[in-house]
């Protein structure tokens, strides 16, 4: 099958640097963070508004792409499941999907609440949460 090339549009700035210490879900202690977009994408951010929730897509660049099954939540007492039935970061195309609340926007820097992505994680895309804006 054809392969496709992702071009990251920015990166995450966060106090989280260690995968082992990172929360598994945003409501499990994830810190606020900055989304830093490349200047050339400034026009694409127009209409993004503080106070709303958005979907953030990232590339989990420290994931293992050859993993096909995992113990859910890393718990060895739970039977292995296919990665497509879990939210494990290890998977063939490790795309992270996060719902984040936008706290503030300063040019191409966007401050968001409770993001479980590690520092320097590449950003791929931002979309409105459906229902909220179509």
């Amino acid at each position: 099958m054809t392969a496709y090339t992702l071009r990251p549009i920015g990166h995450v700035e966060s106090a989280l640097t260690d995968r082992a210490a990172a929360p598994r879900q945003p409501d499990e202690g994830a810190p606020d963070a900055w989304l830093v977009f490349d200047d050339r994408y400034a026009p694409a951010l127009k209409g993004l508004t503080a106070g709303t929730d958005v979907l953030l897509l990232t590339w989990l660049d420290r994931a293992d792409r050859d993993t096909l099954t995992v113990h859910p939540r890393g718990d060895a007492t739970r039977p292995r499941a296919g990665v497509f039935a879990t939210r494990a970061p290890d998977r063939p195309n490790p795309i992270g999907l996060h719902v984040v609340h936008v706290l503030a926007i300063a040019d191409t820097r966007v401050h968001v609440r409770n993001l479980e992505a590690l520092d320097a994680t590449p950003i791929l895309d931002v979309k409105p949460v459906l229902g909220q804006d179509r």
Copy 2:
């Protein structure tokens, strides 16, 4: 910034072949479709269950990656918005995000309800809907 390579894990089989005729959202007349996974990913599908909703990530291979602003829903009377504030397929990394209901699973073929993706669209990832399975 570093570029990353996507490896499609399968493709969509659908009666939808024409982008101009495709519904913009699944509740606007999208047909049922098949997700056809490459055999080598069979282990990664273990745990996927008929009767549940899943998140499907696709690569919108007919999108224009240089578009940064659009008229929302293609309506020229609406002011241009940045693509990151819309669900337009045209965007730097055209990753499609779909919530689909699984009707049936037959080995590496998964039948789903109301999918607005075009026939032959590459599949990148499948994840549980959060809240439903963590």
